[in-house]
C-alpha cells in the first residue's frame, strides 16, 4: 500500500539527481522556449544500497579539480585520464599503475555514477588536525523559558530524553533564555553557574566575550554532563521576570541565538555543531524582535507584510541574515523547534535556518506529538537516523556551455567564481560552490541551469552528451570526513522546440516541484509578484508549445502523456499553501517553504498535490481522485498532504465504528478495514521528518476540513444536486479542476 504512494520508487537512483528536462536544448533561445527552466533536484548524500565507499581520496583534475569519474576517457597504457569537463589530460598517480580495462577501480565503473571517498584527515584545517580523529558533533540546546509551566515541563522532558539518546562523545551545551539569556557552565563543579546576557542588546562581538567564553567549560561530552544537565533542568523554572498585564513576556530569542552562535564561534569554528533552539513564542526584545511588547499589537500577518505594515520585519530578517552568515562562516547549524499557538518568528528566522541547513519544526505545543516525535527523531540512531551530517560543501562542475544560476535550498553560496557561473541569479548563486553547514540523507536542493551558447557551437566536434558533476564533502554523523562525487550525463537535443526527444525527457513531477519552488522564491524575493498569474501564464505557454491542437479549437487540444499530469499539478499548486498564503501565517508559510525546498521530489510533490487512498470493503486500497467525489459514506480515505495525514471515515463507517462492530468477532473484516489506514499512516509518519500531524476524523466532523481543503471542489453548493448520495460537497467558490482545464484549453489554443 505504501507502494501506491510511491509508484515509481527510486526514481532518483544512486545519483540522487532528477531534472526537469533530461534532454537539454542546445541553445539559450531554445531553452527559454521550453518554459519550464532547466533545473536539477539533487540529493547530495542520498543513501543507496549500491553506494561504494572508497577508503582513499579521489583523483582530481589538476585544472578544474573535477573528480575522476566513469565518464572520463582513460588511456590505460599511458595511464592518463581526460577530464570530461575541461578536457585536461591527467596522469594517474603511482598507485593506479595496475589499472587496466579489466581491472578498473570502483570510481571508473559505469554503474557507479555516485561514489563516496573517505578522507582520513582534513588537511585544510590544520589547527583541528589533532582532533579530527575524534571529531564529535556538538549539540547546543537553547531553551525558551518564557513558557507556561506545563509547556516548559514538556520541553524539559523532551530535552532530557534527547540528552539520554545522544552518543556519549557528543558535546553538549545548554543555553536558556527568557528576558535574558543564561548560558549554563556545565564544567563548573562547585555550584551551578550561569552567564547572563541581557536580552535587549545585541551582543557585541568584542573579544571580551570571547575571552570569557574561552576560559570556561560550556561544552562537555554527554556522558559527563548528563547528570548535571538533568538536575539543572529539574531546577530550571519559567522566566522570573514579571510580565506586565497586557504585555507579552520579554523574550529575547534573537540575542539567545546570537549568544549561542558566539559561544560556538569562540571555540568551535569548523567543528560540526548545531544549535537546537526550542522556541515557545515571539521574540519581543532586542534584535530579532518580531512584534511589540504590547499584546494589543498582533503579530504580523501576510497582509501586514504586503502593506509594509510590519515594522519589525525587515530589521529582524536583517538580523537573522547576519546571524546566518556568522553561523555559515563558523560552519554551524541552526535548528528551530517552535511550539506555540501564535507565531514565533520562523518567517524571520527562515533565512538563518535555510542558509545553515538547519531543521525546523512547527508545532502547537511542546506536548504535541509533532514536536515530541520529531524532536526524538533527530537523535534517533540506526535505520531511522536522519543521518545528520555537518560541514558540507557542494561543488558543481559542468560541461562547457552550461551555466549555473544558483540553488534554491538549504545552503549558502561560497561565492566561488568560475566560468560556469551564470549572469542571472536564482537563489544562492554567483558561485560554483556552496556551503551546507548541516545536511542529512534527505536533504535535497534545486540547481538551476542556463545554457550559454546562442548558436549551435561546432556540431561536428561536440559530444552529444553533457556532463555535470556534484562533489559533496561533508562530515558524517560518526565524525568521518567523506567526499561524494556524483557524475551525471544527459543528452543535448538539437533542433527546434517540441521535438520528440525533448518532450520525452520531460519530468513533470520534477517540473511541478521546481515551479512550486521557483514561485515561492519569487513571491519572497519579488515585490508584488502575482504567483497565480505567473503560474497560469507559464502553464498556458507550456500547453501552447507542447500541446497538440488546432488553432482556436479548444476541443482539439491534447497533451503528450509526458505533460498530461502537469496541469493538474499546477491546479493544485495554485490552491496550495505555497501560493494561497493568506490562509496561513507568515510563519507557517515560511515553514512550508523551507520544507518544500529541502524535501525530495516525491515528498515535495505530495505537498503540492496530496495523495489520497481509498479503503472500502469491496476493493483493495486504491489511490483515489483528489476530488470531493471520492468521499463515500462507506469508505475510509487516507490523505497524505505531507504536513498532515488525515484518516477520514465516511458516515456509515463512522456509525458502525461508534456502534463498536469492529469489536465483534463476526465483523473482523470491519476491524481490519478500520485498522488498515492507520497502519499505512503509521508507515508514512514513521520515516518522515518532521513528523506529520495525524488527524483522524469523520465525515461532517469539524476535523474533516483537513481533508476537504485539499480536495478538488467538483461538487459545491452550486451543483450539489447533481451529486450521488453519501457524497459530500465543499462550500467554496473556487473553481474545480474541470473548469480550470476548460479554460486552459481555450487559452492554450488561442494564437499567442
Amino acid at each position: 500500500m505504501a507502494a501506491s504512494r510511491l509508484p515509481e520508487a527510486d526514481l532518483e537512483g544512486i545519483e540522487g539527481v532528477r531534472m526537469t528536462w533530461n534532454n537539454w536544448p542546445r541553445t539559450k533561445v531554445e531553452a527559454s522556449k521550453c518554459v519550464i527552466p532547466i533545473a536539477a533536484s539533487i540529493q547530495p548524500i542520498r543513501p543507496h544500497v549500491d553506494l561504494q565507499i572508497l577508503p582513499y581520496p579521489p583523483l582530481r583534475c589538476k585544472t578544474c579539480s573535477a573528480v575522476l569519474s566513469p565518464y572520463c576517457r582513460v588511456d590505460f597504457t599511458a595511464l592518463i585520464w581526460m577530464c570530461p569537463f575541461c578536457y585536461q589530460r591527467n596522469h594517474f598517480p603511482q598507485h593506479y599503475q595496475s589499472i587496466s580495462q579489466t581491472n578498473l577501480p570502483a570510481e571508473l565503473y559505469p554503474n557507479f555514477p555516485s561514489i563516496e571517498y573517505t578522507i582520513p584527515s582534513y588537511p585544510q584545517n590544520p589547527q583541528n588536525f589533532n582532533t579530527s580523529t575524534t571529531v564529535c558533533p556538538i549539540y547546543l540546546f537553547v531553551l525558551d523559558t518564557c513558557l507556561l509551566e506545563v509547556e516548559l515541563d514538556f520541553a524539559k522532558s523532551a530535552l532530557k530524553r534527547a540528552i539520554g539518546m545522544l552518543p556519549d562523545n557528543a558535546m553538549v551545551g545548554f543555553v536558556s533564555y527568557g528576558t535574558q539569556v543564561q548560558v549554563h557552565e556545565l564544567g563548573f563543579s562547585e555550584m551551578s553557574k550561569v552567564y547572563v546576557f541581557r536580552g535587549s542588546k545585541e551582543l557585541s562581538k568584542d573579544q571580551g566575550f570571547c575571552d570569557l567564553l574561552h576560559n570556561e567549560i560550556f561544552l562537555l561530552p554527554a556522558s559527563e554532563c548528563e547528570y548535571t544537565l538533568n538536575s539543572l533542568l529539574d531546577e530550571l523554572g519559567t522566566d522570573q521576570w514579571p510580565v506586565a498585564p497586557g504585555k507579552r513576556p520579554l523574550r529575547c530569542t534573537g540575542v539567545a541565538l546570537s549568544v549561542a552562535a558566539g559561544l560556538l564561534g569562540a571555540s568551535m569554528v569548523g567543528t560540526g555543531a548545531r544549535i537546537i533552539a526550542l522556541v515557545g513564542g515571539p521574540c519581543t526584545d532586542g534584535p530579532g524582535s518580531i512584534v511589540s511588547k504590547d499584546l494589543s499589537d498582533p503579530v504580523r500577518s501576510h497582509k501586514d507584510l504586503d502593506k509594509d505594515a510590519a515594522p519589525f520585519f525587515k530589521k529582524s530578517v536583517q538580523f537573522y541574515e547576519d546571524l546566518g552568515k556568522q553561523l555559515v562562516s563558523q560552519g554551524h547549524v541552526l535548528d528551530v523547534f517552535a511550539s506555540a499557538l501564535d507565531q514565533v518568528g520562523i518567517a524571520e528566522m527562515k533565512v538563518a535556518i535555510e542558509r545553515t541547513g538547519g531543521l525546523v519544526v512547527l508545532a502547537e505545543s511542546f506536548g504535541h506529538s509533532v514536536f515530541k516525535e520529531s524532536f526524538k527523531h533527530i537523535f534517533e540512531d540506526g535505520e531511522l537516523s536522519l543521518g545528520l551530517s555537518f560541514n558540507g560543501t557542494l561543488e558543481i562542475n559542468c560541461s562547457k556551455d552550461i551555466k549555473i544560476q544558483g540553488i534554491i535550498g538549504s545552503c549558502s553560496s561560497l561565492e566561488k567564481k568560475g566560468p560556469a557561473v551564470a549572469n542571472t541569479v536564482i537563489g544562492q548563486g554567483n558561485t560554483t560552490a556552496w556551503k551546507m553547514c548541516g545536511l542529512d540523507r534527505n536533504t535535497s536542493m534545486t540547481v538551476f541551469f542556463d545554457i550559454s551558447s546562442n548558436e549551435k557551437s561546432d556540431p561536428s566536434g561536440t559530444n552529444p552528451q553533457l556532463y555535470i558533476q556534484f562533489i559533496t564533502s561533508y562530515q558524517s554523523p560518526d565524525g568521518q570526513t567523506r567526499l561524494r562525487a556524483t557524475t551525471v550525463t544527459r543528452r543535448w537535443v538539437d533542433g527546434a522546440v517540441g521535438t520528440e526527444d525533448l518532450v520525452s525527457g520531460f519530468d513533470q513531477e520534477v517540473a511541478a516541484v521546481v515551479m512550486a519552488r521557483l514561485a515561492s522564491y519569487k513571491m519572497e524575493m519579488e515585490e508584488g509578484f502575482d504567483a497565480t498569474r505567473w503560474l497560469d501564464r507559464n502553464l498556458i505557454r507550456l500547453c501552447s508549445k507542447f500541446g497538440d491542437y488546432r488553432k482556436d479549437d479548444p476541443s482539439s487540444f491534447t497533451l503528450n502523456p509526458c505533460f498530461s499530469l502537469f496541469p493538474q499539478f499546477m491546479f493544485n499548486l495554485r490552491r496550495s499553501q505555497f501560493v494561497q498564503v493568506f490562509n496561513n501565517s507568515p510563519d507557517e508559510t515560511a515553514y512550508f517553504r523551507i520544507l518544500l525546498n529541502r524535501e525530495i521530489i516525491s515528498n515535495a510533490a505530495v505537498m503540492i498535490q496530496p495523495s489520497l487512498i481509498s479503503y472500502s470493503f469491496n476493493s483493495l486500497p486504491a489511490p483515489a481522485l483528489l476530488d470531493v467525489s471520492s468521499i463515500g459514506a462507506d469508505r475510509i480515505l487516507l490523505l497524505d498532504s505531507y504536513f498532515s495525514v488525515v484518516i477520514f471515515h465516511g458516515t456509515t463507517i463512522a456509525q458502525w465504528r461508534n456502534m463498536g462492530y469492529q469489536n465483534q468477532p463476526e465483523h473482523q473484516a470491519f476491524a481490519h478495514l478500520l485498522q488498515a489506514p492507520h497502519d499505512d499512516a503509521e508507515l508514512i509518519i514513521r520515516d518522515r521528518f518532521p513528523v506529520p500531524r495525524l488527524v483522524v476524523c469523520d465525515q461532517h466532523g469539524s476535523q474533516a476540513r483537513f481533508l476537504l481543503a485539499k480536495l478538488n471542489p467538483s461538487a459545491t453548493y452550486s451543483n450539489a444536486h447533481e451529486m450521488a448520495a453519501g457524497s459530500d460537497v465543499i462550500f467554496t467558490d473556487d473553481v474545480s479542476l474541470q473548469v480550470f482545464i476548460d479554460h486552459l484549453q481555450q487559452l492554450a489554443v488561442q494564437a499567442s
Binding site: E185, F188, S192, R198, Q240
Partner: protein
C-alpha cells in the same frame, strides 16, 4: 550562624563533600582568628565556642546594638570569668567598657549594654559586673526595647503623660559605646566633675568685662571655658621647674596653659628688625581670657616649647546642661567627656555652632574673621548615661509645624493668646495652635504642659512620621555585599577576609523579617548568587557585559535574611576556594556596583563593596594615572592635584542615580596598589557612604579591623532614605552643606543612608540683622527610616543668643568646631586648588582670626606680643598640624591623600582634632602610672624632643595607631608587651596580643579604650627607628621642624610676624 572554625553542624550538602573545602575554610578562619585573637597560650580552636550557638538563653549576641568592634563570636557571658576562651579579643574590648562599668542605669528603659561584650572584656578588666547578673539585661535589649517601640503610638497620642518613651530601636537608645569605665566616678560625684559647671559663671562674667579690651599678654587659665580650666590648679604650682626637665613626668603639666611665667625669665631676644618687648607681663588680670606669648622674629626660640599652648584632655566627665536659666550654655569641648542633659537646646553632639553667640550683623562676623557654621550629626551616639531621645507621636496629623516655614514645634516656639496661637521662632510667623494641641498657658507664659511634652522642653525629639512623609512604604533594611575576587584579591587574602567578616556579621544585621541581604562577587565580570532557599545550592549568575550592565534576575538576588542564612553562610565559606585559581587580574568595579545597584534599585539599601584592585575594565574603568603622574614629574603640581580629582564624570553620574534610588555605597578597600580613591570615592560621598582603607592590606593584621569596621558599619545606629534640612531664624540662612550626601534641591540634602558617625557641615550667612538680646535658632530636621522600617523625623533645635560684641564672639568661639570646619573646607579645596594656595589659605584663616582679635580685642597690649584668645589658643598648633597632615603634604601617595580628604568629609567634630593632632602616650611605663579614672595616660606633645630612645610610645589619630619602640627599649618590657626579646624582632605586620602580665593588660586596656572612644578599631603598626615605619611615626611629630615645615615655635613666630605686618 556558621561556625567557621568549629565542627560544622553537618549541613554541608553532599556535593561539598570535599573535605578540603571545609578544611580550607577552617584554616582560613583559624589564621584570621589567630590574628584576631592572638593569645598564644592555648591551642584551642578559635571559634570553638561560637557564641551564636551557645545555648545562651537569649541566643547570644543578636539583639544588642553593640558598639563597634565587638567580636561577636568569642564572648559569651559564661566565658567572661575565664579568659581562656577568647578573652582578649581585641575587638571585643571595644564594647566592653561601656557595659562593664556601667552604673545602674538611671533610666527605666535603659538597659545595660550587651552583656556578651562585657564578658569578653571581662577577663582583664575588673570583673565587677559578674557574669550572671549582666547576662540578662545584656542580651535583653531587644525585647526590651521593642516594647516601648510598639507601645509608643498608643501611649503618646493623648499626650496626657509626658510619656518619655524610649527612642526607637535599641540601637538608638542604648548605644552604649561611649560609656567608659571612668563614668561611674563621674556620676558618683567625685570631686573633679564639678569643675565643669562652675566655669560657667566665670565665663559669663568675664564676657562683659572684656569690653574694655585691655589686652594683657598674660594668660589666665581659669577663665576659659575649655576643658583646660576644668582642672584644678596644680599646674600653677611649679611652672618654672618644669621647663628644662626632660620630658617625662611633667607631660601632664606641660600642656597647661598657664605657664607664661616661664616666658618671662627669658631675656628679651633682640629682634633683628624691631626692638620689642618680648613679654609684657603686666600683673593686672586680663579681662578677656587670652594667651599671649612673646616671640622674637628670629624664631630662635628662647621660648620654652614647654610653655606654648598644647591641648590637654580632661579625663573627668563634665555634666552639661544645654540651657541654664533660660540661657544657652556653651558646650564643653567636643573632645572631652561629657554627659548632656537636654534642657531645651539639643545636645552639642547633634549640633554645634562655631561660635556660641550669633553675631547680629554680618559686619561683626566678618570683622572677627571667624566663620559661622554648624556641624550637625543628627544620629550622634549619646553618652550611655544620657537620657534617650524621646519619640513623640502626634497621631494621624503628624507633628505640629509652622505653616509658613514648616519648622517643627520646639521649645522656643512662643505660645500666645492663651495658647491659641504660637509664634514660630524660626520665621516669626504666628500660627494657630491646632485645637487638639491646645493648652493653656501658665503664669510664666509657658504652656502648662510644656514640661510634660518632650517637643516643648527638649532640644532633640523624634517624631513619628505619618503617611504624608512617605513616598512609599518605608524601605526594608537591605544589605548587599559585593566582593572582589580578582586574582590579586584572592592571593592577598582580601577575599577571604571579606567573606569571613561578612559571615561573622550576618548575625549582627538588624533582626527582623524586613532585613534582606544579597551578595555578588566580581572580577572582570560580575557574579550574582541566587540564594533562594528552594534551590539545592546557590546558583551563580554571571554578568559578563561590563560595558552595559544589568541585573540577571528580577528577584531572588536579594532575599530575606531569614530565608537564605544557610545558603549565605555556605556561599561565603566557599567563595575563597571557588575562586582560588582565578587568574583574572582585571576588575570591573564600576560595572559591579552598577549591577548591584540595579539589583537593589527597587528597594534601595546599603551596598558594601570590598575592593582590592584598580577598576580596569567596563564602565567607570580607571587607569593607573598615579604612575603616569609620577613619570611625568615635569607637569608639576597642577597635574599632581588633578590626580586628586575624579578622572571623569561617569561615577558621579552613577552615584547620583544611586542616591536617587536610596542606595548607599560603602567601600572597603583592601588593596596593595593604587586604586584611584579620588575617582571611586565620589560614589561613597554622594550616596552618604564612606571609604575604609586598608593599605597595604595585610592578611595577618587587617582582617580583624575589617571585620570590626564592617560590624560597626551595619550595627551602628543608622537610618535610610533620609532627607535633612537645617532651618534658621530669620536673618540667617544656610549657605551650603558639606558632607557625604547628594543634593538635588538647594535646601535639602538627600541621604540614602545616614549613621551616627556622619557629620554634615552647614555654613551660614546673614541675610538680615538680628536683634541684640534675642535668640537665633537653628533647627535640623532629619526624616529617615529606621533599620526596622519606621519612618521618623529627628528634630534638633539649638537656640543661641545674639550679640553685637566682638569680644563675645571670641569668648564663645568653639575651637573644636571651628577647626573642624577649617579642616573640612581645606580638605574640600585640596583637589581643586594648588597645594601652596590651600596651605596659605589654612594659615590665613588662623592669622586673620588672631589678627582680628589682636586688633579689636587686645589693642592695649604691646605689638611685640602674640596674643591668643583663650578659646582659640590652640588654633595655631592645630593649623600647623593641619599643614603637616597627609592631605596637605605633597610627598604622600595620591591614594593616601585622597583617602584623607574623604575621611575628613563626614568626620565628626570629636574626631577632627585627633586626625591632625594625634594623641601620643607613653606605654612602657603604663604600669607605673596610677590612673584612677581613665586607662589612658596623659598625652605627650608631638615633638621628637619628647621621644626618648628608651621609651615605647603609642600614637593614634582615630584611624591608625602607631606603636613606636625606641632603640634602647628595655628587652624586658618588649617581652612583656610584644613577646619579643629585642627590637630586631619587631614584626612588619602587627597584631595586638595580650600576654599574661600587667603591662600587656594595661596596653590592651588602653587600646581598647581608644577604640571605644574613637568608634574605630585602629590599624596597629609597630614602628622603630631607622626604617620606613619609624619615618612614618616621626612624620606625625607635628611640632618638629621638618624639611618642608616649621616647628611649632617657628610657626608661632611666623604667625606673629604676619599679624604684625597686618597691623602695621
Amino acid at each position: 550562624m556558621a561556625t567557621p572554625g568549629g565542627p560544622r553542624p553537618g549541613n554541608f550538602p553532599p556535593n561539598y563533600s570535599t573535605n578540603t573545602l571545609a578544611n580550607n575554610m577552617q584554616n582560613l578562619q583559624i589564621n584570621q582568628q589567630q590574628s584576631n585573637n592572638p593569645r598564644g597560650d592555648a591551642p584551642r580552636p578559635p571559634h570553638a565556642a561560637p557564641p551564636g550557638q551557645q545555648p545562651q538563653p537569649f541566643g547570644g549576641n543578636r539583639p544588642r546594638a553593640p558598639p563597634p568592634g565587638v567580636f561577636p563570636r568569642g564572648p559569651v557571658p559564661t566565658n567572661g570569668a575565664s579568659q581562656t576562651t577568647l578573652p582578649w579579643n581585641p575587638a571585643s574590648t571595644l564594647t566592653s567598657p561601656s557595659s562593664v562599668f556601667q552604673p545602674p542605669p538611671s533610666f527605666i528603659m535603659r538597659t545595660p549594654p550587651p552583656v556578651a561584650l562585657a564578658s569578653s572584656a571581662g577577663g582583664p578588666v575588673p570583673p565587677p559586673p559578674g557574669a550572671a547578673p549582666l547576662t540578662g539585661p545584656g542580651t535583653r535589649p531587644q525585647p526590651f526595647i521593642s516594647a516601648p517601640l510598639t507601645s509608643v503610638p498608643p501611649v503618646l497620642p493623648q499626650m496626657s503623660t509626658s510619656g518619655p518613651s524610649n527612642n526607637g530601636p535599641t540601637a538608638f537608645s542604648s548605644w552604649p559605646s561611649q560609656g567608659g569605665p571612668h563614668f561611674p566616678p563621674a556620676m558618683a560625684g567625685t570631686p573633679q566633675p564639678p569643675a565643669g559647671p562652675p566655669q560657667l559663671p566665670t565665663l559669663m562674667t568675664s564676657g562683659p568685662s572684656a569690653q574694655p579690651l585691655q589686652m594683657r599678654p598674660y594668660f589666665r587659665s581659669p577663665a576659659g571655658a575649655s576643658p583646660v580650666t576644668g582642672q584644678p590648679a596644680p599646674p600653677f604650682s611649679a611652672p618654672t621647674q618644669s621647663m628644662h626637665q626632660p620630658s617625662g613626668s611633667p607631660h601632664g603639666m606641660q600642656a597647661w596653659p598657664p605657664q607664661p611665667g616661664q616666658v618671662a625669665p627669658h631675656p628679651p631676644v633682640p629682634g633683628p628688625m624691631q626692638q620689642q618687648r618680648m613679654y609684657g607681663m603686666l600683673p593686672a588680670p586680663p579681662p578677656l581670657p587670652n594667651q599671649s606669648m612673646s616671640l622674637s622674629h628670629t624664631g630662635q626660640s628662647k621660648i620654652d616649647p614647654n610653655q606654648i599652648p598644647r591641648p590637654i584632655r580632661s579625663s573627668s566627665v563634665i555634666i552639661h546642661e544645654t540651657r541654664q536659666g533660660n540661657q544657652s550654655s556653651p558646650p564643653p569641648p567636643a573632645t572631652s567627656d561629657y554627659i548632656v542633659k537636654d534642657t531645651g537646646n539639643c545636645s552639642p553632639r547633634h549640633m554645634r555652632c562655631t561660635i556660641n553667640q550669633i553675631p547680629c550683623t554680618v559686619d561683626v562676623l566678618s570683622t572677627s574673621s571667624m566663620q559661622l557654621a554648624l556641624l550637625v550629626q543628627p544620629l550622634a551616639l549619646p553618652h550611655p548615661s544620657e537620657e534617650p531621645i524621646q519619640v513623640v507621636d502626634f497621631g494621624e496629623n503628624g507633628p505640629v509645624r509652622c505653616s509658613r516655614c514648616k519648622g517643627y514645634i520646639n521649645p522656643f516656639m512662643k505660645f500666645i493668646d492663651q495658647g491659641r496661637r504660637f509664634i514660630c521662632n524660626l520665621c516669626g510667623f504666628t500660627d494657630e495652635t491646632p485645637s487638639d494641641y491646645h493648652c493653656n498657658l501658665g503664669p510664666d507664659g509657658r504652656r502648662r504642659d510644656a514640661d510634660e511634652r518632650p517637643e516643648l522642653c527638649r532640644g532633640t525629639v523624634e517624631f513619628v512620621a505619618t503617611k504624608e512623609y512617605m513616598v512609599r512604604e518605608p524601605m526594608p533594611a537591605v544589605f548587599f555585599f559585593l566582593i572582589d575576587v580578582s586574582m590579586s584579591a584572592i592571593q592577598t587574602g582580601a577575599t577571604a577576609a571579606a567573606c569571613s567578616a561578612i559571615n561573622q556579621v550576618i548575625d549582627d544585621l538588624p533582626e527582623g523579617p524586613r532585613t534582606m541581604v544579597g551578595i555578588a562577587t566580581f572580577d572582570s565580570s560580575i557574579h550574582f548568587y541566587n540564594l533562594k532557599r528552594a534551590l539545592q545550592q546557590p546558583l551563580m549568575l554571571i554578568v559578563p557585559d561590563v560595558q552595559d550592565v544589568y541585573t540577571p534576575l528580577q528577584s531572588d538576588i536579594i532575599v530575606h535574611l531569614s530565608e537564605c542564612r544557610q545558603h549565605l553562610e555556605l556561599l561565603l565559606e566557599s567563595i575563597p576556594t571557588m575562586f582560588q585559581n582565578n587568574r583574572t587580574t582585571d576588575s570591573a568595579f564600576g560595572a559591579a556596583i552598577k549591577a548591584a545597584f540595579l539589583a537593589m534599585k527597587s528597594s534601595g539599601g546599603k551596598l558594601l563593596v570590598f575592593q582590592s584592585v584598580l577598576s580596569s575594565i567596563g564602565i567607570g574603568s580607571l587607569s593607573a594615572r598615579e604612575a603616569e603622574g609620577r613619570s611625568n614629574k615635569t607637569a608639576g603640581e597642577k597635574e599632581a592635584q588633578k590626580l586628586l580629582q575624579p578622572v571623569d564624570k561617569t561615577l558621579k553620574t552613577m552615584a547620583i542615580e544611586f542616591a536617587e534610588y536610596q542606595v548607599c555605597v560603602d567601600l572597603f578597600i583592601t588593596t596593595q596598589t593604587y586604586v584611584d580613591i579620588a575617582s571611586i570615592s565620589v560614589v561613597t560621598r554622594t550616596t552618604g557612604g564612606q571609604v575604609y582603607y586598608y593599605y597595604p592590606f595585610s592578611a595577618l593584621s587587617d582582617p580583624a579591623k575589617l571585620y570590626n569596621d564592617l560590624r560597626w558599619n551595619v550595627t551602628r545606629p543608622q537610618g535610610f532614605e533620609a532627607v535633612m534640612r537645617v532651618r534658621c531664624s530669620q536673618g540667617i540662612q544656610v549657605q551650603e552643606y558639606f558632607g557625604n550626601f547628594c543634593k538635588r534641591i538647594p535646601t535639602d540634602v538627600d541621604l540614602p543612608a545616614i549613621d551616627c558617625n556622619k557629620t554634615i557641615m552647614v555654613t551660614l550667612k546673614h541675610d538680615d540683622k538680628l536683634q541684640e538680646g534675642s535668640e537665633c535658632a537653628f533647627q535640623c530636621a532629619l526624616l529617615y527610616t529606621t533599620v526596622y522600617g519606621q519612618r521618623r523625623i529627628r528634630v534638633s533645635t539649638l537656640s543661641l543668643p545674639c550679640t553685637t560684641m566682638l569680644s563675645n564672639l571670641f569668648r564663645s568661639a568653639d575651637l573644636d568646631t571651628q577647626f573642624a570646619c577649617v579642616l573640612k573646607q581645606v580638605a574640600s579645596e585640596i583637589p581643586s586648588a594648588p597645594l601652596t594656595q590651600v596651605r596659605e589659605q589654612a594659615t590665613n584663616v588662623c592669622i586673620n582670626i588672631l589678627h582680628s582679635y589682636r586688633k579689636f580685642c587686645a589693642t592695649a597690649s604691646s605689638s611685640g606680643q602674640l596674643i591668643l584668645p583663650e578659646a582659640l589658643k590652640l588654633l595655631p598648633l592645630y593649623t600647623l598640624a593641619l599643614l603637616k597632615s597627609i592631605g596637605l603634604r605633597a610627598d604622600g601617595r595620591v591614594d593616601d591623600r585622597s583617602f584623607w580628604i574623604n575621611y575628613v568629609s563626614p568626620l565628626s567634630t570629636p574626631l577632627a582634632i585627633p586626625l591632625v593632632y594625634p594623641r601620643m602616650i607613653t606605654i612602657h611605663d603604663l604600669d607605673e602610672k596610677d590612673l584612677d579614672d581613665s586607662p589612658i595616660p596623659s598625652p605627650v606633645p608631638l615633638s621628637s624632643e619628647d621621644i626618648s630612645d628608651e621609651g615605647i610610645y603609642l600614637l593614634e589619630n582615630g584611624e591608625d595607631c602607631l606603636i613606636y619602640v625606641g632603640n634602647s627599649a628595655s628587652p624586658d618590657i618588649l617581652q612583656q608587651l610584644f613577646g619579643i626579646s629585642s627590637i630586631e624582632e619587631i614584626p612588619n605586620q602587627y597584631v595586638l596580643q595580650q600576654y599574661d602580665n600587667p603591662l600587656s593588660k594595661k596596653l590592651n586596656d588602653v587600646v581598647n579604650e581608644i577604640r571605644r572612644q574613637r568608634c574605630s578599631y585602629l590599624r596597629l603598626k609597630l614602628c622603630r627607628k631607622g626604617d620606613p615605619s619609624g619615618m612614618m611615626f616621626f612624620s606625625y611629630m607635628v611640632e618638629d621642624k621638618t624639611p618642608s615645615g616649621l616647628s611649632y615655635v617657628e610657626f608661632l613666630v611666623h604667625i606673629h610676624r604676619q599679624i604684625q605686618s597686618k597691623m602695621a
